[in-house]
Amino acid sequence: MWGIVRQRAVDGGFSASSLRRTRSALVSARSYAAGSKEMTVRDALNSAIDEEMSADPKVFVMGEEVGQYQGAYKITKGLLEKYGPERVYDTPITEAGFTGIGVGAAYAGLKPVVEFMTFNFSMQAIDHIINSAAKSNYMSAGQINVPIVFRGPNGAAAGVGAQHSQCYAAWYASVPGLKVLAPYSAEDARGLLKAAIRDPDPVVFLENELLYGESFPISEEALDSSFCLPIGKAKIEREGKDVTIITFSKMVGFALKAAEKLAEEGISAEVINLRSIRPLDRATINASVRKTSRLVTVEEGFPQHGVCAEICASVVEESFSYLDAPVERIAGADVPMPYAANLERLALPQVEDIVRAAKRACFRSK
């Protein structure tokens, strides 16, 4: 199974790079003053890990292909050379094994950053993530804390089929004891990964393969080695007053495009990038909906019991009287991800779906 993913990493992924080209064009059209720096998400993640390893000798990286191969997606490029094989450890193929080992090392005081080649493979280790990592601090009454980060690509990529495309945000975010983060931009990637590595609790860090190559403008502040984003705080990517669109990861890009299309039709959409799935920033979510009175939530994952369901429940519970329209949920299709490109496109939310839902919430269409 992982053979397929490995092949894609070597090729660079043909469909992924074409998507990259179209998206980069749009991003630079939106970028700030000329002369501002840009950084890919890949470089952002790499620099974050590098800086944290440099600052704290207890931080080490572990996973399949992270060392000599420079990382299946090149996120750990250059780290083996810089820090040596003890701190950049190429593991045998056993997710359950290296996750358990990471937890044991964390119990003993090290700070492992464990890479899953994709979070789909984390299911083989999920007992260790939940029962060994998430619950340990509680079960041991504070005696065993687990400062571990589990990171890797999550959700759909392009043409990788059912066993490589599932989104695990809802599963992990339902577990007390875990923190679950999902970066979108390069700044998110840097700030959230640094925060995750420094955090004494176990963190599930959900990246997105298709975002790795995408470039984003990045501020001087974000490039500083002490830069860190708070865990549990969402970001308002675009302010608006007519409808709130809430999402995370790659869908933030789609939501921003949808907001532009909606603006052409006179609808001002506020786009919120969750950044943190657990803890969920209910305050920001509800404040926004109380302002706009309309909610559209978007995620790539399966619809039942998804992240959007939790957001809708929170808004209905806390801001019911502010709502002027039923809450809208957009999620992936309730099917294992098909391979054929047309079917895959149909199984995932597209910009048009977000636009339609926002218009429905504004009573502009059926």
Partner: protein
């Protein structure tokens, strides 16, 4: 063309020092044990036996909800603990409370955990027998089987990186070696050259599954070589043999920075737990035989007595003292308050998140406003 046969004509021999009558076998090599150490070992084995019986009875009387005994495995428990250094990190399965007892966990502390009261170091978070103590380098018992094995490899790796003069020691039963984590843990420890001592208590039964239905190999010891791990089979009911084997294994693990596997042969005299009635799947005769004729405590007692280090007087004293202390500990533990409401929300994270703070306030408010739903004695 030659196939390696599925089994060897001879089983791997078992290292032993004392015969069944507690006499040193001629020409056996072992690490000598002083009178002081031997007496302490025996006292603790006897105490562990009394503790098992009393807590088991307490569960039967409904005073605690659950219990697991280590009956028949007292030599493995105490002798292995005696052979380790205090800095060695222990990751137990669940039938090794004797290791914690040896390291200084008091009978009152055991009772507090079983009752989940306010004094419990575990703050009432876990079922009975899920003891843990950072202070004693004994990781909190975790229910899923064999997860401690790759964790031990990780702990060993951490000790290796910090160049500590210590090793990780982890226990597993015969049944637990069927788990995927057994493979991952041993393979990894070997590849990482981590200082880990893996001790398998082969006690013949995994609840109702006999070893003949668990694996087709010659026990567990033969699996070590498959991972490139030095291994030994030892008579787990022979305290001196266990002491020597664990002591040697520990030295090798630390000095040579490698994992070592010990298979300790024994028998599970008690039921799997208080939720089990093993007479349903094995004969009462079989249990009785191991309980009486192959008892590790009696065997070691004979050796200690033969050396003139122990008398019948000492025997009745240690047992009655242990019994008295345990009954007092249980009475006290039973009476003490359960943990307060705040402990429901603590330790989920290092620092309580906002939503948990809100939930705690909400619950406190509810308890205040609806006292009739929270009967007197409901500890807040």
């Amino acid at each position: 063309m030659k196939f390696i046969p599925e089994s060897s004509p001879q089983r791997v021999p078992c290292y032993r020092v004392l015969d069944e009558n507690g006499r040193i076998i001629l020409n056996s090599d072992f690490i000598p044990v002083s009178e002081k150490l031997a007496v302490r070992m025996y006292e603790q084995m006897a105490t562990l036996q009394v503790m098992d019986h009393i807590f088991y009875e307490a569960q039967r009387q409904g005073r605690i909800s659950f219990f697991i005994t280590s009956l028949g495995e007292e030599a493995i428990n105490i002798a292995s603990a005696a052979a380790l250094a205090p800095d060695d990190v222990v990751l137990p399965q669940y039938r090794e409370p004797g290791v914690l007892l040896w390291r200084g966990f008091t009978l009152q502390e055991f009772a507090n955990q079983c009752f989940g009261n306010r004094a419990d170091h575990g703050k009432g978070r876990q079922m009975p027998i899920h003891y843990g103590s950072k202070q004693h380098n004994y990781f909190t018992v975790s229910s899923p089987i064999a997860t401690q094995l790759p964790q031990a490899a990780g702990v060993g790796y951490s000790l290796k990186m910090e160049k500590k003069n210590a090793c990780a020691v982890t226990f597993i039963g015969d049944g637990g070696t069927s788990e995927g984590d057994f493979h991952a843990g041993l393979n990894f420890a070997a590849v990482m050259e981590a200082p880990v001592v893996f001790i398998c208590r082969n006690n013949g039964w995994a609840i109702s599954t006999h070893i003949s239905e668990q694996f087709r190999s010659d026990g567990i010891v033969v699996k070590g070589q498959a991972y490139g791990i030095r291994s030994i089979r030892v008579d787990g009911n022979d305290a001196l043999a266990v002491y020597s084997a664990v002591r040697s294994a520990r030295e090798m693990a630390v000095a040579e920075q490698r994992p070592v596997l010990i298979e300790a042969m024994t028998y599970r005299v008690g039921h799997h737990s208080t939720s089990d009635d093993s007479t349903k799947y094995r004969t009462a005769d079989e249990i009785q035989y191991w309980k009486m004729s192959r008892n590790p405590v009696n065997r070691f007692k004979k050796w200690v007595e033969d050396n003139g280090w122990w008398s019948e007087d000492d025997e009745s004293k240690i047992r009655s003292n242990a019994r008295k202390q345990l009954l007092q500990a249980i009475q006290a533990a039973e009476k003490w308050d359960k943990p307060p409401l705040a402990e429901l929300f603590n330790d989920v994270y290092d620092v309580k998140t906002k939503n948990l703070e809100e939930q705690e306030l909400g619950l406190k408010d509810l308890v205040e406003k609806q006292p009739q739903d929270y009967p007197p004695g409901f500890h807040i």
